[in-house]
């Protein structure tokens, strides 16, 4: 897939990360000891995209669509079943642990839950110095200095250094998480739902912080979220996932103004708008039913069971991700 053409501000040569036909499958078994039945959850089912230096790619979808698994496979927290992940031209999947180490410095992650992603028994100083200790040759005083400046970058006072995570609010903890990811000056940060556990008034603070840090340090983000409006404010391009597949990918503005895949359209129309007049007059597409189990992905288009426009062809043939009139990529037989 070559999504590079869709965005002019990033040249294709700047590709930082390339993901090709990524598949992650989890075997599950059920039944008794003698009649064990092996089945496979197709969590990520052939996903391809790339991220350019300094770009934010938003990855949206509902729970179980495989967006987090994709993020974890890229950082190799999960080893994918098949596919290719290359970072600056190096194939990440062929590297062993020690060879991977230099890339740990370049790809960092921010997790969703600010309460469980910080060790409660470590002070903020030790949390922040851990990546520096294992990934850089910095001396102790250098680390001290770096940590103090990191806290400043995320707008926390350096006097917090000797405190423990429980003394902080959710928003402050997420700032610490971001500072930890930032500590080794990564080129790519995979942020998995970084604001969804936060209160509305705090969400905006963290989104702005991520925005400012990107302006300053120029790293790329893979921004994973279920909230379309949060993704819109931060992303240059957006990929929409459904049942382990990317169903639409395009430049943010185009994708939001003119979504081509029926699932993207339904997803957009389901997001409530905080304006009663618009919200009450708007035409909404309410999808019937629920996402099918990733244990039994229906044949043909994965969305066929809920799609209001599905025709016979959709139940037989898997639609490829192809370029549509808006310049975005969509996997729908009917999209123009």
């Amino acid at each position: 897939m070559n999504a590079a053409e869709s965005s002019k501000q990033f040249a294709a040569a700047d590709n930082l990360l390339q993901v090709k036909d990524l598949k992650v499958q989890f075997p599950v078994s059920r039944g008794g000891f003698f009649r064990r039945e092996k089945r496979v959850v197709h969590a990520v089912d052939g996903v391809s995209f790339d991220i350019r230096a300094g770009e934010t790619l938003g990855l949206v979808g509902e729970s179980g669509c495989g967006k987090s698994t994709t993020g974890r496979a890229i950082t190799r927290l999960i080893y994918p079943t098949s596919g290719e992940v290359s970072f600056e031209g190096h194939d990440l999947l062929s590297l062993d642990r020690s060879e991977l180490l230099p890339f740990r410095k370049k790809i960092q992650m921010v997790f969703q839950n600010p309460y469980s992603s910080l060790d409660p028994r470590m002070t903020i100083a030790s949390i922040l110095s851990e990546p520096l200790k294992s990934l850089t040759p910095m001396s102790r005083p250098e680390r001290r200095e770096k940590i103090a400046s990191l806290l400043e970058e995320v707008n926390l006072s350096p006097k917090f250094l000797n405190r423990y995570p429980h003394e902080f609010s959710g928003g402050q903890r997420q700032r610490i998480n971001i500072a930890r990811a930032l500590s080794v000056s990564p080129k790519l940060i995979v942020a998995d739902e970084p604001v969804s556990a936060l209160d509305v008034s705090i969400q905006a603070q963290i989104i702005n912080l991520l925005h400012d840090l990107q302006q300053k340090f120029g790293m790329a983000y893979l921004f994973i979220a279920h909230d379309l409006s949060v993704v819109k404010t931060l992303s240059h391009r957006v990929a929409v996932m459904y049942l382990g597949k990317i169903v639409e990918l395009g430049e943010t503005r185009i994708l939001y103004e003119n979504p081509k895949h029926p699932y993207t359209q339904a997803l957009m129309s389901a997001v409530p708008i905080p304006d009663p007049k618009k919200e009450r007059q708007r035409k909404r597409i309410i999808l019937k039913g629920e996402i099918p189990s990733p244990l039994q992905i229906p044949p043909g288009c994965p969305f066929n069971s809920r799609c209001p426009y599905a025709v016979e062809r959709c139940f037989v043939e898997v639609p490829p991700l192809r370029r549509v009139s808006t310049g975005a990529l969509a996997s729908c037989h009917l999209a123009q």
Binding site: S201, L228, S229, K232, H236, V271, E290, I291
Partner: protein, 350 residues
């Protein structure tokens, strides 16, 4: 003019903890009219859930303690009537849907057992009739293969389906009031749209009044007739949806609206967050709870809690220096327009 169904006046609820007394709900009043949807909006710790749990009589006391106010429903003060009488009302006249459909059903019992228990407790229907009524409600809620779902265990159902079952249980007895505490927060957007549609339908078809607790102004915009915005256990602003969205007066309401990333925001724009963090409820004194984060706060905001000021009947706010049209009612006489004497004396005491 719609008839008032439930009146909450001057309600205060406190919790005694090791860190001090938490003033979870602090002199809050509102009423609910017949057939309307009232939205209670606020962030975590704003007191919205505690308010509703108090109405339902579901707060463990101690540690919770109601220190002032009354909750009037059909001539009774729900805070004073005996538990046995409250049990008659709870589940029958007033029922509740909880936020988390994953933990609010008993995993050991079949859906049928749990649903029929409601009817066994509150009605004289036979087992056969109960079963029929349950299936009827499930079909009304658009549960496909209702019979099969009815005989399943909760873990066999998806989140959206569990929430439908919870709603089903809560409307089995056609309650007058349905309290929905963040009913869609744990669900995906497309499922959220389905559930909100369902609540709208219940309200329109059966005339059930709904109190919808949420942190999402978008959900409020689509569903609510009137809105109560809470902050730090207190009222920030209340009014009908027009008042709240288009004639906003309280700086917190305004801040909340400006900080939401909406689908209408241009990509790449910076948001306008509310600075600071939500208040520590043990440290709240008799001053405006929002003053530490408020761009308009002045000396008086940090020393004396504002009284409820009234714009027009039904639209009021607790603020000295409100935003929006008209001159700010900054002086004291303007603020006391509709206050009960108990509250004003409380302010003077401080």
């Amino acid at each position: 003019m719609k008839k008032s169904l439930l009146q909450v006046s001057d309600l205060s609820v406190q919790f005694k903890t090791d860190q001090g007394t938490v003033r979870a709900v602090d002199h809050v009043s509102f009423d609910l009219n017949e057939g309307e949807v009232l939205g209670i909006v606020g962030e975590s710790g704003s007191g919205k859930s505690v308010t509703c749990l108090t109405i339902m009589g579901l707060l463990p006391m101690p540690p919770a303690k109601v220190t002032s106010g009354e909750i009037r429903f059909q001539g009774n003060d729900l805070l004073k009537i005996p538990e046995s009488k409250l049990e008659d009302i709870r589940g029958k006249d007033i029922s509740m849907i909880f936020q988390d459909p994953f933990t609010s059903l008993n995993p050991y019992l079949k859906i049928s057992t749990q649903m029929m228990e409601v009817l066994a407790t509150h009605s004289k229907l036979s087992a056969k009739e109960s079963r029929k009524r349950c299936l009827e409600v499930l079909e009304q809620l658009g549960v496909s293969e209702a019979e099969m779902r009815f005989n399943s265990y909760p873990h066999q159902l998806s989140g959206g389906l569990k929430q439908r079952i919870m709603i089903g249980m809560s409307i089995l007895l056609s309650p007058k009031i349905l309290i929905a505490d963040e009913p869609t927060t744990a669900l995906d957007v497309t499922i959220q749209a389905q559930i909100l549609d369902l609540l709208r339908e219940i309200n329109l078809k059966s005339g059930t009044s709904i109190i919808l607790i949420t942190h999402d102004l978008g959900v409020v915009a689509g569903l609510c007739d009137r809105v109560q915005v809470m902050y730090g256990g207190r009222l920030a602003e209340r009014g009908n949806y027009d008042d709240i969205f288009y004639r906003t007066r309280h700086p917190y309401t305004r801040g909340l609206m400006e900080s939401i990333p909406s689908l209408e925001v241009e990509p790449g724009t910076r948001l306008k967050p509310i600075p600071g963090s939500p208040p520590d409820l043990t440290q709240l004194g008799d001053f405006c709870a929002f003053s530490p984060r408020c761009p308009r706060a002045q000396e008086i905001c940090r020393t004396v809690r504002p009284l409820e000021a009234v714009d027009n009947p039904g639209h009021s706010y607790e603020c000295y220096f409100p935003v929006g049209q008209g001159s700010p009612p900054a002086s004291r006489p303007n603020r006391a327009a509709s206050m009960s004497s108990s509250e004003s004396s409380e302010v003077h005491l401080s």
